[in-house]
Symmetry: C2
């Protein structure tokens, strides 16, 4: 990526800033007057022309002002953006809210996604923290009066999964408890593959349980719940007044496979302090035209992590959004690490 002159940087930054605020194409005269630039509008025009030729700006039509292109936004985020911390009052407010909801992961998730959505005025998403390796921790078998048994599988990291099992014949709760205990001892700390390859010196009941356990563990590794909020926010943005742009954005957030694909592909190589910024789908994601995503991981690296992020229009206050995402990720990381501190 070629270098721009200092003045071009300045002008590009101002165009981005003004456009994110007003959603209107910004012209040379307005720029000079509004920001009291020490040059004339003609000079700005010349620079804008070059920025346009180089692909950082574009004109919606011949006699309109300039609007940043995706390339322009990317350059802005990488080179020009000033990173600001969240106001400390806001920080305290957020931290306070999290401490209200003590030790309840679900509540944290809901809170995180709500805070993100509210602070960024965009759509937010958070995935539940997921262990790097899915390891077995504990099994309970709870019988009902019929021949059905509820299996409750606890994984390392605290995730709880359940599955129903139908027995060919009634079995007493005592025997169920003993079986569960034996399985727990036998499998503790193992991953799905290890459990699957346990030699089968077990009876039918135990075989079934093993099989279902492995199944559930495999299912767990596909990922847990995805929390969303602020979907209504993005409808407020003028770029989504055309409904099909809005529908495309909503579909991404709604359709799980799409979203999972996005998350796994996006969060591979952290760039800016661990925060990924995906602008306009980077060519590859047609669904994300006119959208940007700001994503990051949170949790304890290689142990228990989740993803959290914000989806909004390409015209987005990247500085603020990135700060918010980073801050919330920090808070969540602390909570998660504290909770599953040394053990789990």
């Amino acid at each position: 990526m070629e270098r721009l002159t200092e003045r071009q940087n300045r002008i590009l930054a101002l165009v981005v800033r003004n456009y994110t605020e007003t959603a209107q194409p910004v012209g040379s005269k307005l720029l000079v007057e509004h920001y009291r630039l020490d040059m004339s509008s003609a000079t700005v025009r010349n620079e804008m022309l070059e920025l346009t030729e180089k692909g950082y700006l574009r004109q919606p039509h011949t006699s309109a002002g300039r609007v940043p292109t995706e390339k322009g936004y990317r350059y802005f985020v990488r080179q020009l953006m000033v990173q600001t911390d969240l106001p400390s009052a806001t920080q305290r407010m957020i931290v306070h809210q999290f401490h209200q909801a003590k030790d309840d992961i679900e509540e944290w998730m809901r809170l995180a996604v709500s805070v993100l959505a509210h602070q960024s005025q965009a759509a937010a998403l958070v995935t539940a923290p997921h262990p790097h390796q899915v390891l077995f921790k504990h099994l309970s078998l709870i019988g009902t009066s019929g021949r059905q048994v509820l299996m409750v599988i606890v994984l390392m990291g605290g995730e709880v999964r359940q599955q129903l099992l139908f027995l060919p014949e009634p079995v007493s709760q005592d025997r169920l408890s003993v079986t569960a205990e034996r399985m727990t001892v036998q499998c503790e700390g193992l991953n799905a593959d290890a459990i699957a390859s346990i030699p089968d010196n077990f009876d039918n009941l135990e075989q079934d349980i093993l099989r279902l356990t492995v199944e559930e563990m495999r299912r767990s590794s596909l990922g847990g719940e995805i929390y969303r909020d602020g979907l209504a926010n993005i409808l407020a943005e003028p770029e989504f007044s055309e409904t099909d742009a809005a529908r495309r954005a909503l579909r991404i957030l709604e359709e799980r496979p799409l979203l999972e694909d996005l998350l796994t592909r996006a969060v591979v190589s952290p760039k800016i302090g661990g925060v990924q910024v995906l602008i306009g789908g980077e060519g590859a994601w047609d669904e994300l035209r006119e959208c940007s995503i700001v994503l990051t991981r949170y949790g304890s690296p290689n142990i228990l992590t989740g993803i959290l992020g914000v989806l909004g229009p390409t015209r987005m206050p990247y500085g603020q959004t990135i700060s918010t995402v980073r801050f919330v990720a920090g808070v969540l990381s602390d909570l998660v690490s504290d909770m599953y501190g040394i053990g789990a």
Copy 2:
């Protein structure tokens, strides 16, 4: 509600039908030609005039055709609508899908909400089945290497809740298991109040556990997860091309308290074969202007029930939607009853 002549009924029904199909105001001439009515457009006009005066129809403006009012829709749903069953091919397809996802409640919910959304081309919601009374069934205590303990509480009906507990000092897994066993025996089949009033001849650990258990049971009675799907569908409807109408609708579906309030207040007195139809918020719900909701309960009455429904524009094919809602509710009821059949 006054009675209408047979001919007025016929005309009203045709107006509703045509309007739900085209989303355009329907005029007298079009009606006569399109449906080969055995009367002239003037006659239709006279009838329409009366229907307008009585409040069943209205004109967007002086020289436009007629559009049903909310009153018109209500009358239509109550008196004129022909109830059709879902095509049997569709029925089989749906049932088949459900049988693919054997014994996994979460999967059922996801499937139900997806089928509803897809069939009705509107937004769908389903709440997880919830027991009429929240009764304790089983407790597991799973210690980690630290001083923290994961409580896994199983309720009658199979709902599983978890909560973290921090101990003042380490406790062996053996002692935890014994405690859990004692608690289980002690509390099985009791509700939150009964457990809260158990005389406290317990040690500190046990006291804490009891307290948290009661807390979780109370929290559970507030209701579980709400599954949503098809939010993007409603953006496709022309009445939601104005974004703030769409935003209002989205907010209802997004904001949990709003939605819960709606569900609890709406599903009180089943009318049409158990299916409730809320048209345009019935005056009381401003957020639902231009929206209608079709709701019903599913499950085993007084034992384990949930709510499922569809939210779409007031201009909605009520017949089809109601059939779909009813059918999916039936399928879910069967599954839930089967699963928790006699026992649980």
